[in-house]
Each structure stands twice: as structure tokens, then as C-alpha cells.
Point group: C2
Chain length 198, copies 2
């Protein structure tokens, strides 16, 4: 947007355009929304984001974002300490907790191995995972079922198995509530291979 | 997201979820992006939004957002003063300026009449439009081709025509580069009715 049309709008839009998945049209829409809000609410919005960032530390065990040294999950006495579920990002922890049923601990890698993008084992929290395997009996690799997710699971599995720890991987199969006709070939083959007796 | 999963993430996500068109999943993704940025960049992002809001005033003539009393377009000596193009929002001014070809002034309504949503003539900048029609010979109603856009154009037209000022409306017709088979019935009928000699 050229400067003379509206400088405040351009300044705000420029900020929103920095966000992932936000194009120039959406950025303009968000900027317009912001300029229409009372100044106090805009200040509130912006300051809470700064506050969130300032308070965000990584849990010294699981590496999830937390405002303390040790996150609520790692500090929870009721969680099993012999299982660690390894995920790519904090939102995956939220997804598992929402689904419920898992009572062990987590480990957040903050990324996946991706040599194409220059992401190597040093760039994600693998070292920190290896350092906390003392009492662990099972490591559940719960990275996404993508090329990078698979590669990362394989890589970490190969590091951990020699330590005598069981390493498992989430099952491939049909998503609940879906239809066979919409499933892709890989999913169908995996679902067939991993069929269970009923 | 329950509190104990990650408080900083929840706080940031809560802010982004306030934005129009941003659901909880997108808000979490944006929050995660923010917490991964260096603190200085987050501060920059947030403070620029506050700054944009603080500097945003409405031009005393056209009501567009500007950081001055009179916006660049209204202050531009080279613009024709006898034409005013009336639009719903600042992004429409940007769209026309990007397209080029128009040399008159604008007027931003900041909304459209919508009795269903409780938006009446007092809630949008109609009074301000009527106050600046002194030397104006033509008012071009360039609101969106929607029910509210049409109603607003009709309403304002009826106020202005008795003042002896020409009121025009953007043409309906086929969008450039489109195909007949994809046009809706109303558009096709209007395009047919308003056919031009070549």
C-alpha cells in the first residue's frame, strides 16, 4: 500500500504481514480491525503478547513453554515417570492432553530433522531428551506422519534403542469417522497391514 | 487449552483469538510463532501496533485513517475537487488507488447501513459527507455490490440528489478475465442490460 493512502494502516498491516500464513489482504483487514478498536484494547492486546513472550521459558525437563522452571506436567506427581511421549511442538502436547488417556510425560523437540531446510540434530531438543532417560522404560515417538516426522522418529529411535529402552511409534491407520474411499493409498496399506483381531 | 499445558502460550493465543477470522488453532499457531521469536522482535511487533493505533486519526475531510489532520489525498493539489468517490472502508481507497485512473477525492463511510445489525445512518460517516459537498459536481457511490452496499448507496443517493449533485453507481458486469459460465444470474442479467456499443 503506498504511503500516502494511510500511514497508520500501512504500519499496522506491515506488522501483521510478518505473521506466518498472513498475506497482505488479511494483514490489511487485521490492521483495519485494530485501528477501529479503542486504544486501550489495542494496548492490552500488544502488551499481553509482550508479556507472554517475556514469561515464556522452556521447561528444564520437557522443553515445553512454561512460565516456571519446571512445567505443570513435569511437576505433576500423578504422571507416570517411565513413559515419555516425544512431539514436535507444544500444540501437540495440547492435542494429546485434550484427547486424554495418556498419563506419562512429554518431550517437545521444537522442530523436526530436515536436512533440506538445514535443520540438524543440534537444532532440535534431542540432547535434552537423551539427558532425561534415566528411569524411562518407553519412549513413544509421536511426531507427525510426514517424511520429516518419520525420519526424526527413526533417527531418535536408533539413538535410544541401544540404551535398552523400548521405542514405539504412533499407529498409522484410518482416522475415526472417515470413509475408506477418501483414504490415500499409503494409509490404506498401513491400515490393512496393521489390522487387529476383534 | 488448559492452563497447566503452557500458560505463556495460552496467554498469547488468547490475544490472537480476538482477531477477526482467527480461530483457536490459528491463534495457537501464531502464539507459537511469537514465543519462538527473539523478545526484541516481539516487542517491535507489539509496539508498532500500539504506535499505529495511537497515530491513527481520521482525516477531517474524507474520514480515512491518517497520521495528520488532513490525509495525503485530500491535501494533494492535483486531485479534482469536484468528484467524491464514496467507499465503505480504507482498504477500498487503497484498491482504487492501486488500480489508478481516478483523480478525484474519496469519502470513507466506515461501515454500511445494516438495520439487522443495528447500524443506522448515525453510525457511519454520512453527516461528514453531506458537510463537504460544497463544490462537488458528482458523487460516485462505490460501496460493495451487496445488499447492504446497495441500500447504503440508494440511501445516500436520495439525500444528495435533491441538492442538484449528480450521483452515480459503479457498473455491474462481468469481472475481467472471468468466464460466462461461472457468472451468477444477477451479474449476467446486469451485464446484458448494461451492454455497450463497440
Amino acid at each position: 500500500m503506498s504511503e500516502f493512502v494511510s500511514l497508520p494502516l500501512a504500519l499496522a498491516a506491515e506488522q501483521f504481514a510478518k505473521l506466518p500464513g498472513v498475506g497482505i489482504k488479511t494483514a490489511q483487514r487485521l490492521a483495519y480491525f485494530m485501528l477501529n478498536l479503542p486504544e486501550a484494547e489495542v494496548r492490552d492486546f500488544a502488551e499481553n503478547i509482550i508479556k507472554a513472550r517475556q514469561s515464556a521459558k522452556l521447561c528444564k525437563y520437557c522443553q515445553n513453554f512454561t512460565e516456571r522452571d519446571i512445567c505443570g506436567l513435569c511437576a505433576d506427581e500423578n504422571r507416570r515417570r517411565d513413559q515419555i511421549c516425544v512431539v514436535e511442538s507444544p500444540k501437540d502436547v495440547s492435542a494429546f492432553e485434550r484427547a486424554g488417556g495418556y498419563e506419562g510425560l512429554y518431550h517437545v523437540l521444537h522442530g523436526l530433522l530436515s536436512p533440506m531446510d538445514g535443520v540438524t540434530a543440534e537444532d532440535i531438543k534431542i540432547k535434552e531428551l537423551l539427558a532425561r532417560l534415566g528411569d524411562v522404560k518407553e519412549v513413544i515417538m509421536a511426531t507427525n506422519p510426514t517424511v520429516e516426522g518419520e525420519a526424526t522418529a527413526m533417527y531418535i529411535g536408533r539413538l535410544i534403542k541401544p540404551m535398552g529402552i523400548k521405542v514405539t511409534r504412533l499407529a498409522y491407520g484410518l482416522p475415526a469417522g472417515s470413509a475408506l474411499e477418501f483414504a490415500d493409498d499409503v494409509t490404506l496399506v498401513k491400515a490393512f497391514e496393521n489390522r487387529n483381531e476383534i
